[in-house]
């Protein structure tokens, strides 16, 4: 305490400043709690509580040695939680811990300033985790608080900080806006984010997994995340035709379906013998850390930096770590070319646990039908006729899931139907494969696009029929509608249930919530498209347009430095030119001076108003009456104590009405002028 008294008076912080700082820190920490290890969050929370206690009882503030001990504990705690102090999570944890500790030694205003600036880093770092518009707005509020606090700590808000905070911070922010735009547009972007340079090891995959076993999709469906957004150039097709193709699974073993051996049968030139009902669209794919991308069944063109395999899988060159936007075209009506012999044989391999019951069933179908397609119909009839239930909560399956599902439990999700149906078709000698993807999507009429959620995940079967190539068969859709259990689904999914569960959405409240959610998503999509998607590619395009592409980042940096210089120069020029345009009388007088300067009567900077008026009166006697009146009012408004608003108004009126004209030079004028000068 004795130390605090040694501070100069203007360095002593006010109590409200300390409180505002600590509360802003708390607010900035809140969203971080989702990502930090609970140990780190607990330590930070403990330190913040200690801080609040110290505001109330200053004696509770820890001394230097205790603080050192706490620091060691904090670092150890971070190590214990993340096993590292670097990387996205490790570094953020350390930063959060250290800032919380710094708050415990807030003595001078200087400490407050340092903490407020460090808090900016805590805010920026959180954009590594989430860049949504909601969080961005939230951090906008926090940035406002930080700026207001910094201005106040430097005495810029005076004795009425709350009243002056908004205009002052808005002005400062507006001044920073041009620079922000320049830096946003021109600061050289890294093509891959820093944290994928091997610094961070915790890259979890998101969305669809690589293989399919009973239960894998239903897990995904419960996940409420967005998979991608799609915007159609033409009128969008109906939901039941929106089969979003992802992975194609060829291999089946006792429990799961997995992709084929890449490269063995997949060529890069898929063939379509017929492709009609062409549709063009754009997809913004959420990051998945995987390579596969989604396209409407079946794609006929693929975007650059992608590969279209022979089984019409769209694959990206590199894992998708940030939101990816791409355009492509599909044909809704299509007929594929007949696959090669080897490929057909590959699509007939059976799992080892194919049961006798399954073979008997298929044999019976074969007796009843005469064509391949009729056999397929027979299979679909089977799912429709028998007691098959469609549910998100299927019973657990044992060692032979395909057999158990077909003959015992008979309730399952799309992966059960697709997986077992494909096995049945293979038994019947029809080459089959399973396709993983999404079905349908939620149209957002406000934003004019479709939202495809993880809960729209779906699996279906493709069967090879002679003369027709691969034909899509969706066994799930064969289930009798009255056996669809939508209660389980709605309980699990809440508002995010896919449209095919027929959630009752007639209630006013649920309609309103739905509309609000779609509106929020539209804003989010615009944010994504205009801000987050701005990347190295756009910058390269800009360089191409300027003809500077060869110089790469150096050109970009050069342009940026030039633009920053221009912006700063303009701001500086504005500051120099109009030092106090705030004063209304002064503004009016400036206007008068500009108008007189336009007719050749420029006021010297050092010339007082009366001197100027006198000079004008000599040069242009016809102006003297009006100029004298204006100058008299100006002197009243600017130099007299407590000028009246009426004076300022009449000054403004007089100045606006006074538009001097250039002198017509007659012979006598020229002579008089000569005489005067």
């Amino acid at each position: 305490m004795a130390k605090q008294n040694l501070l100069p008076i203007d360095e002593q912080p006010e109590r409200y400043q300390t409180l505002a700082l600590v509360m802003t820190v708390c607010a900035a920490y809140l969203p971080l709690a989702r990502y930090l290890n609970w140990r780190v969050s607990a330590f930070v929370a403990l330190m913040l509580m200690l801080r609040f206690a110290a505001v109330r009882w200053p004696a509770a503030a820890p001394g230097r040695w205790l603080l050192l001990g706490l620091t060691l504990v904090g670092v150890a705690n971070c190590l214990l939680a993340n096993h590292t102090l670097i990387g996205k999570l490790g570094g953020t944890s350390l930063l959060a811990t250290m800032l919380a500790l710094k708050l415990l030694e807030l003595r001078a205003r200087r400490d407050h300033r340092i903490s407020a600036i460090a808090l900016c880093f805590v805010v920026v770092v959180q954009f590594l985790f989430d860049q949504g518009i909601g969080l961005t707005l939230y951090f906008g509020g926090i940035a406002f608080m930080i700026v207001a606090l910094l201005v106040d700590l430097n005495g810029g808000l005076g004795s009425t900080p709350i009243r002056r905070a908004v205009p002052v911070v808005l002005r400062i922010s507006l001044q920073a806006l041009p620079l922000t735009i320049v830096l946003f547009a021109l600061f050289p972007r890294l093509t891959s984010p820093l944290w994928s340079l091997g610094v961070d090891q915790d890259r979890g995959t998101m969305g669809m997994s690589e293989s399919m076993e009973p239960g894998s999709i239903s897990e995904l469906v419960i996940n409420g995340d967005l998979a991608f957004r799609a915007r159609f150039d033409q009128h969008p097709p109906g939901s039941d035709r929106l089969y979003w193709r992802g992975l194609v699974l060829w291999e089946v073993d006792n429990r799961k379906w997995s992709p084929g051996r890449v490269g063995q049968y997949q060529t890069v030139n898929p063939e379509l013998t017929q492709a009609t009902e062409r549709i063009d669209y754009e997809i913004v794919l959420e990051p998945s850390q995987q390579r596969w991308m989604f396209s409407l069944d079946l794609p006929i063109e693929h975007p650059p930096n992608t590969v279209l395999s022979s089984d019409f899988q769209l694959l990206s060159d590199r894992p998708i770590t940030t939101a990816k936007r791409y355009r492509l075209s599909s044909a809704l009506e299509f007929r594929t070319a007949m696959p090669a012999e080897a490929e057909q044989r590959y699509a007939l391999r059976l799992p080892a646990n194919t049961s006798a019951r399954m073979i008997t069933l298929v044999k019976q179908w074969q007796l009843e039908t005469d064509s391949d397609w009729a056999l397929v119909q027979q299979g679909l009839d089977f799912f429709n006729r028998e007691e098959f239930h469609y549910t998100l909560l299927p019973p657990k399956l044992g060692a032979n899931p395909w057999d158990e599902f077909l003959f015992e439990t008979r309730s399952g999700f799309c992966e059960h139907y697709a997986g077992s149906f494909a096995v049945l078709m293979r038994i019947a000698g029809l080459p089959s494969r399973v396709v993983l993807g999404y079905l349908g999507g939620e149209p957002n009429r406000i934003g004019g696009y479709h939202l495809i959620w993880q809960s729209d995940a779906h699996a279906w079967v493709e069967v090879m029929i002679a003369e027709r190539g691969w034909v899509r068969v969706d066994p799930t859709s064969a289930v009798a509608p009255f056996r669809v259990d939508n209660r389980g689904a709605s309980r699990l999914l809440g508002a995010y249930a896919p449209a095919r569960f027929h959630i009752d959405s007639t209630g006013v409240l649920s309609m309103a919530i739905r509309q609000l959610r779609l509106l929020a998503d539209s804003i989010d999509a615009v944010w994504q498209r205009s801000v987050l998607d701005y990347s190295a590619a756009e910058q390269t395009r800009l360089l191409y347009r300027l003809g500077l592409a060869d110089y790469g980042e150096f050109a970009l940096a050069g342009i940026m430095v030039a633009a920053v210089t221009i912006v700063m120069g303009l701001i500086l020029f504005g500051l120099i030119r109009q030092p106090d345009a705030i004063d209304p009388a002064s503004r009016c007088f400036s206007l008068l001076c500009r108008r007189l300067a336009a007719v050749g009567l420029e006021r010297n900077a050092h010339e007082g108003p009366l001197d100027f008026a006198a000079r004008v009166a000599v040069a242009r006697p016809e102006f003297s009456l009006r100029v004298n009146a204006i100058v008299a009012l100006y002197i009243r408004g600017r130099y007299m104590p407590n000028p009246t608003a009426a004076d300022i108004q009449s000054l403004s009126r007089l100045v606006k009405a006074f538009v001097p004209t250039r002198q017509r030079r007659s012979f006598s004028d020229t002579k008089r002028r000569k005489y005067l000068t």
Binding site: D580, H606, E607, G608, L610, D611, Y639, M640, P641
Partner: protein
Amino acid sequence: MPQSTPHPQIKLIETLLDTAGTVILGKEREIRLAVTCLLAGGHLLIEDLPGVGKTTLAHLLARLLGLQYSRIQFTSDLLPADVVGVSVYERGTESFRFHPGPVFAQLVLADEINRATPKAQSALLEAMEERQVTVDGETRLLPAPFFVIATQNPSYQVGTFPLPESQLDRFLMRIRLGYPATAQEKELLAGEDRRAMVLRQSAVLSATEIAALQTAVGRVHVAAPLIDYCHGILGFSRRCERFVHGLSPRAGVGLLRAAKAWALLDGRHFLIPEDIQAVLPACVIHRLIGNDGTGRLDHDEVSTLILTAVAVP
């Protein structure tokens, strides 16, 4: 001009200026500056060659202002006691009695101040600053108002002890009279004796009226932009390479006070930039030293330099 109710004594000041103008011809601006200086409560230094009317001006002002007047002719053998007075032992009362010197007057004309030795000079200059005199351990207040009008010959003349800067700083203004213009000089030659004219004048103002005017000077309103302007002038004088050092804060205070008095003389209760510009040359010229080796500065050039360098806000 903006209308404001002029101070009641302003009319008298106008009369004073008009009358003075009839005696000292063609020097209206200098007379006005001198009156401004006195109203601002400052002391005035008149520097010029002998015979241009310095003493006449001082004497005339004393008459018109109705002030008790005394004159000290500074010579090289002048002693401090000649200025402040001396205690003399009186046999009758068997005690020392103080005989006040010529400084105990309301208006003191210190003629040719740079002819005296620094010791004698400092006796007067101390009295100017403190407005009191300490003799034999006893402090005696000088009368109020107390003005000193000092005259000095240009320092390049023989037999002068130039006043140091610190002492020059105690004068609010330094003015020059200069030779009269042709017409005025002819009128002067044709007219009657100026000394006689001065003696014929009667007081226009009383001491209380002067005190009231001085109070009114303090009340003249100075708007914030003019404080900036004044500060800009001080800043420029400190930055400008033409000067050895810039103007002191005391010079700034004096400049503003003089400008306020000028505004009051103009019948205004608030300052405008022209007031500062009007008094600036007289207020700063003796406080600045040139950087060209001789230390001398040209009066008009310096005023132009400063006035054109600083923008009017």
